[in-house]
Assembly symmetry: C2
Homo-oligomer: 238 residues x 2
């Protein structure tokens, strides 16, 4: 599922608010005559985008699986599209079957704002030192306790996570992308890691401090939570 | 000047409608106390975007030229930004001084629509043959009469134009960009050339026909006018 997060109050269904889950359930109800619960691999925050969200639902409908992609797309707003649909075993869970996820965070790093990029990037005016950010990023890779990089509201029972990749990539003039891959992430983990790497890029945090921040397990030592609009769920890996 | 064209009724000022020229004149009036006429290098159509529009205006204000970039940006909507401002001779014209312009046209060429690309691409479902499009594009390069590729409402006194480059470039999966460079373009010329190249890509027009269409000078033989939202003025060359 691809969506632009700007017009949604996140993935998870909420009364009276437009959410991705709610929009998909409503569309599925109109196709099948019965409203299912649609469960996603990632409960993306309000404003976060997705190029490759994965979700599943149970239905007794006899509509062929492939028909659900164009059908659900047509019954949703233009900011939501179901790219593909296949049949899965009844007990398959998009969330539990996932072996990993890839997110990208995009920073617009030029003095002037970018009207064309404004919905999908965080505008950071100060020139960023990408080499320093890469040095720091290396210390976020591996199996570690990431308690310093999770939201206060995160209720995950363990804070150990396996981060397999953090790459800092210049895409085009002014546009910097940070790609994160892990088996799973804590709440706000990508946004807090991004906020911390941007502090390093600005020269406010020494790149060698990032390992110490991680080891402290203290959220107060990490950088700010980067805004949702720069974040995009690129892929869920199975 | 960079802008997302979605929320504007084009460049040119019109009563009661939001236009790029109107927004810039209003912002300049608020900065200087006197409303100037802002003249752009290209009068982009409604819905067309710009990464590198260039415009000028006369003012007796003593505000330093460089201050106009952040000032006009702050006084405009988030879909418009002035990236840079410099002082020019009083008789300088952004339009008449231009030696050439580069536009890009972006096509989203995948079966499913793209929510994240929907404002800046034309969604063409049928797979496009890029090799055929490149063969046809070669016949649009050079000094020729482009009467077959202009809007009925175009009032240019001559239809001879020098097209220096037409490139068909795959950007990423699903995204195709056609880049056009010429000393000047006729009204809707880029959009009609794009519509014609897409007909070639779909196999509906033989690539060798494009030179004949051009030589016919008959608008009815060229392809449809591609939608405004895929078009972006990338740069004006001086």
């Amino acid at each position: 599922v691809e969506y632009e997060g700007t017009g949604f109050h996140g993935w998870q269904i909420q009364p009276e608010l437009r959410t991705v889950q709610g929009e998909l359930e409503e569309a599925a109800a109109r196709m099948t005559g019965s409203r299912p619960v649609v469960r996603g691999a990632s409960r993306t925050d309000a404003g976060v985008h997705a190029l490759g969200q994965v979700a599943g639902f149970l239905t007794e409908s006899e509509i062929a699986a492939a028909q659900f992609a164009p059908g659900l797309t047509a019954l949703s707003g233009p900011d939501l599209a179901v790219l593909d649909a296949v049949e899965a075993p009844p007990d398959w869970s998009a969330r539990h079957a996932a072996r990993g996820k890839t997110y990208r965070y995009r920073v617009w790093n030029r003095h002037a704002p970018s009207p064309l990029m404004r919905r999908t990037t965080w505008h950071v005016r100060a020139p960023l030192d990408l080499a320093a950010m890469r040095t720091a990023a290396a210390d976020l890779i591996g199996r570690h306790d990431f308690a310093a990089f999770r939201a206060a509201s995160c209720d995950a029972p363990t804070t150990m996570r396996d981060v397999t990749d953090v790459e800092v990539v210049p895409i085009s003039e002014g546009l910097i992308e940070i790609r994160f891959r892990a088996t799973a992430f804590l709440q706000h983990m990508v946004r807090i890691m991004t906020g911390t790497l941007v502090e390093v890029g600005k020269g406010r945090t020494d790149p060698r401090e990032v390992a110490l921040i991680r080891e402290s397990k203290d959220r107060r030592l990490a950088g700010p939570t980067a805004p949702a609009r720069g974040l995009c769920l690129v892929a869920v890996h199975y």
